[in-house]
Symmetry: C2
Subunit: 246 residues, 2 copies
């Protein structure tokens, strides 16, 4: 983990870094390097580690007592796009223009990105742990963020709680290996991910404690109150004395 720059505003330090050449950003209380619970932020498709929604979320988590960290997913942000990424983007635009269902196409492409991204997140966790900064870990990410996050949580026992959502396809086997508490977001009128596939995926999680939040609206219309809800979810599961010391 190689730190590149630090800027501090409103009590929050934003630290740009790379880990094995993958660009990332770590948010902490100003200039702090102590151990604290960390929320991993997985961005959505077409977004990146410093998309406005990711940054806003990170700053709120820091205010609550967490650190937050994001990586650019393969083909996103400061990372090169492959020919396959370009082909996918073109095919996606064409299918959406034609009104064809894109769920399976998106799931297949995101599955490929996730296969690459999971070990990248694990390398980041290794480095944070080695630096003594890593408290209990939560993962937040919907859509592409969940395509990565569900597979990460299935493979990685350090993830203790997760907020997922807006995905349905090709993740059931991984979900069946996830046993930590989850909160799962579903958009009732999602134009990209069929409702039934989301419900089936929620059902597949092995977690004893799981909550589905379904809201009216389309894929991008997750209401603002879910931001508060995710914050309270991570507070319950990562900030209690038991989980911090456990």
């Amino acid at each position: 983990m190689r730190f590149i720059s630090q800027t501090t505003a409103d009590g929050v330090s934003e630290n740009l870094f790379t880990v094995n050449d993958v660009p990332g950003v770590l948010w902490t209380p100003a200039h702090s390097t102590d151990r604290r619970p960390v929320v991993l932020l997985g961005h959505g498709g077409g977004q990146h580690k410093q998309a406005p929604g990711v940054v806003a979320r990170a700053r709120r988590y820091v205010a609550r007592g967490f650190a937050a960290v994001a990586l650019d997913a393969p083909g996103h942000g400061d990372r090169p796009r492959t020919e396959q990424d370009e082909r996918f983007a073109a095919e996606l635009r064409a299918m959406m223009a034609a009104g064809e269902p894109v769920g399976p196409l998106v799931a297949r492409h995101n599955g490929g990105l996730a296969a690459q991204a999971v070990p990248e997140w694990q390398a980041l966790l290794d480095d944070l742990a080695e630096s003594g900064r890593l408290g209990p870990v939560g993962f937040w990410g919907v859509s592409l963020g969940s395509a990565v996050g569900v597979r990460l949580a299935a493979a990685e026992p350090r993830v203790r709680a997760a907020v997922f959502g807006l995905v349905g396809y090709a993740l059931a086997e991984d979900a069946a290996r996830v046993t930590v508490p989850i909160e799962f977001l579903l958009q009732w009128d999602d134009e990209l991910v069929p409702r039934g596939s989301c419900l089936a995926l929620f059902d597949a999680f092995a977690s004893a404690e799981k909550t589905l939040h379904a809201n009216s609206g389309r894929h991008m219309d997750v209401p603002a109150h879910e931001l508060d809800s995710a914050e309270r979810f991570f507070t319950r599961h990562l900030l209690t004395e038991e989980s911090v010391t456990g």
Copy 2:
């Protein structure tokens, strides 16, 4: 509305009353009679207006700035049980002992209770309005509480926001007339109400703003964090300046 007794503890006054011989209880800040948002609390089957869960909820709402009010449902609490109530209870026990699905039986019986209860709640609202105490109105009630509440919200424009849940059958037509914001609770492993019937009912609500919260666990296992969530829901919809003055 005839007030019978008042007891005050920890800053909350509990006022027993009857309205057209239906026994109820009104919780307010100590000795207060001013106008404020009111949450109607519909209890579950076999419970009553002062069941521990109802009282705990009422006290929390008062601490937040609401008044809260509950009525005994027909055949519950201080109200006489009819022969039909007794037959229903016996039949329910027998079917549950035999492992038979009880959803339709419960829905039919609760529908009968609701037909009686809806005008009782409306008479209560009339009296509270006449006394100058009635601010914006919310309804909270699951299971039997929803069998009554969904029909009330369909018939009664004074209900501005509602938390429902743990019901599925025989309410779709009423739900299609409900347009106010709702939060709907579903227990993923509900042994009394089939999951599919709950999902179909949630779908039927005409509300532009609706949220489904599905949690792992059985009918009675609604997690404690849903208490907080309902409180925030009513705070958003009834305590903002706009809704209080609107």
